[in-house]
């Protein structure tokens, strides 16, 4: 038996300007596509968010967008598509359901009213994370839940929505983070923690506008970058967690004079 190998040299052509190396064959047809990363904001716009909280949230997300763009510029193969779900008495698309390319995404002003239908928002999210609605070879989605209160849907409905996310492949693989706003007695920390799947991060607790801005920026940028790395790995039968790991969030040093 014999192994025959040789190196094929580049095509060299000459023109009047001198010798150049060029491709003489047109590149094959076919529209190339970058890998999609689907990003979901889930924003509480219940009545308790009125005033400083919603104003800070609106401004912080707007300020986070260019920072995400800047951070993922190192991953030009990634095409971030963003959507937003708002929830109060019910859950609805704030931006969507069609995903918007990051560089075209605009955050419309969010108004407050009503209750806190977090479970309905999670179900709306789960419906978008199905195999049929997501690109099979996409990057892990990023889902950031921001809320200041207790879910007013029945707890069974909330738990079922969390369980649904835990059953669908993209729900499992997604980077799921939650930011709680205000005093810890005002929101249900264990409930929000159930949504998250990053042990090193846990529940991000924003006591002040300054912390909310910092956490929205940190969470959105860190999750986008971590998901963009998108390195393949072998399946392991016993493992049903996100294959993206985030570092611990930064320590917040904030003044106590401007709490929510």
């Amino acid at each position: 038996m014999t192994l025959y190998c040789y190196r094929i040299e580049c095509v060299i052509s000459a023109d009047k300007g001198g010798t150049i190396i060029e491709d003489t064959i047109p590149i094959p047809d076919g529209q190339v596509a970058r890998k999609q990363l689907h990003f979901f904001w889930l924003a509480d716009c219940s009545d308790s968010m009125r005033g400083k909280k919603i104003a800070t949230l609106n401004q912080a997300i707007r300020e986070a967008l260019p920072e995400i763009q800047k951070a993922v510029a190192a991953y030009p193969q990634v095409d971030i598509r963003m959507r937003a779900i708002k929830f109060s008495d019910d859950a609805a698309w704030h931006v969507g359901p069609d995903p918007v390319p990051l560089d075209e995404f605009v955050w419309p002003e969010l108004e407050t009213s009503g209750l806190t239908a977090t479970a309905k928002a999670l179900r709306l999210l789960a419906g978008e994370l199905t195999i049929e609605r997501m690109p099979r070879r996409g990057l892990p989605p990023v889902c950031i839940l921001i809320s200041d209160g207790f879910c007013t849907d029945p707890s069974e409905e909330y738990n079922n929505a969390i369980a649904e996310l835990g059953k669908i492949p993209w729900g499992i693989k997604a980077v799921r983070l939650a930011i709680a706003i205000g005093d810890e007695s005002d929101y249900n920390a264990p409930e929000l923690l159930k949504f998250t799947n990053q042990e090193s991060v846990g529940l991000l607790k924003a006591h002040s506008p300054e912390e909310l801005v910092a956490y929205i920026k940190w969470a959105s940028v860190s999750a986008s970058v971590a998901s963009s790395r998108g390195r393949s790995r072998g399946t392991t039968a016993a493992e049903e967690t996100s294959n993206v790991s985030l570092e611990s969030p930064p320590q917040m040093i904030t003044s106590n004079t401007d709490l929510f």
């Binding site: 991953y75 072998g234 399946t235 039968a237």
Partner: protein, 309 residues
């Protein structure tokens, strides 16, 4: 083991030609990471029976698979060794075709997986590896994980094309009439960057295999997933357009010219699309010859259609 940056090509055994090209992904270059793909080509004969064998592997990029570059190289080595040994064991025995094909489906997954594991154990014993990024209780299982990789293996013989695959990547056969066949079902892992792996404890059960008639031949492509990902996946219409167009380029410009251009094309796809390492092996398989002792239908493709292959 040839450098993955080189083109290579096996000679014409009467079955056809096979070319390969592997390029470091744009995202790997930016991050200072090496190419984690590997491929190997082989042609020769046993008992006067020619064969072409080739293999493509894609080492997992996740940090827990920190030796996957070596794992991929060992995988193509293991595949070629087993494909050639398999061919030899049958070529000398005048085994009926159906038995030959059934033997491939039964034996290749087990033999190639076992060979890869032996090579991993040898390599891990020979080198001093850095501490494992994700320690496991069983050191041997930990090493298999660290070397984790996918693998595509193909064997072309007189009357058959035999294919095996574990994990992602694509095998596509374009027949002379332009029809595209995906001989293997896709990797059943449903979402994201996960894939079946040689490092899985039950790896030999995770292979997909197929046996085809060589018939009128065609162009058989084996590619790591970086290429189909650049066209939104192998199921997309754009990937089919790319495959048809590539085959058209081969017919129009000839295989050597396409081989010379391939590195630039793959670099471009990686830089503007998936960013991943890219490896493509393509075999130009000539039509099966009619032998008096084999009652096969006469190929109706004119010989001129294959000139230049």
């Amino acid at each position: 083991m040839p450098s993955p940056e080189e083109f290579s090509c096996t000679c014409d055994t009467g079955l056809g030609w096979v070319f390969g090209c592997s390029r470091t992904g744009a995202s790997h270059i930016r991050a200072g990471r090496p190419c984690e793909d590997a491929y190997a080509l082989w042609s020769g004969s046993s008992g006067a029976q020619p064969c072409i064998a080739f293999a493509v592997a894609d080492g997992h990029g996740d940090p827990r698979h920190d030796q996957s570059r070596t794992g991929a190289a060992l995988a193509v080595d293991a595949a070629i060794t087993e494909l050639v040994a398999f061919h030899r064991s049958y070529a000398d025995g005048n085994i009926p075709r159906q038995q030959f094909r059934a033997g491939f489906k039964t034996d290749l997954p087990r033999r190639a997986t076992r060979r890869w594991r032996e090579l991993v154990v040898q390599d891990a014993g020979r080198r001093t590896l850095p501490p494992a990024p994700v320690p496991q209780a069983d050191v041997q299982d930990q090493n298999f994980t660290r070397y984790g990789t996918t693998l595509i293996a193909a064997l072309v013989v007189n009357d058959s094309i035999l294919l095996g695959q574990i994990g992602d990547g694509d095998l596509v056969l374009v027949r002379p009439d332009g029809s595209i066949e995906f001989p293997l079902p896709r990797d059943p892992v449903p979402a994201g960057n996960e894939t079946h792996s040689l490092s899985s404890p039950d790896a030999h059960l995770l292979w997909r295999t197929a046996t085809l008639d060589r018939g009128k031949g065609g162009i058989l492509l084996a590619a790591t997933d970086g290429i189909s990902d650049s066209f939104n996946g192998a199921e997309s219409e754009e990937f089919s357009i790319f495959v048809h167009s590539l085959v058209d380029r081969i017919h129009t410009y000839g295989t050597e010219a396409v081989a010379a251009a391939m590195a630039g094309w793959l670099d471009r796809y990686s830089s503007v699309a998936s960013g991943d390492d890219m490896t493509l092996v393509w075999a130009c398989i000539t039509p099966e010859e009619i032998r008096p002792d084999v009652p096969e239908p006469v190929p109706d493709v004119p010989a001129s259609a294959w000139e230049g292959w």
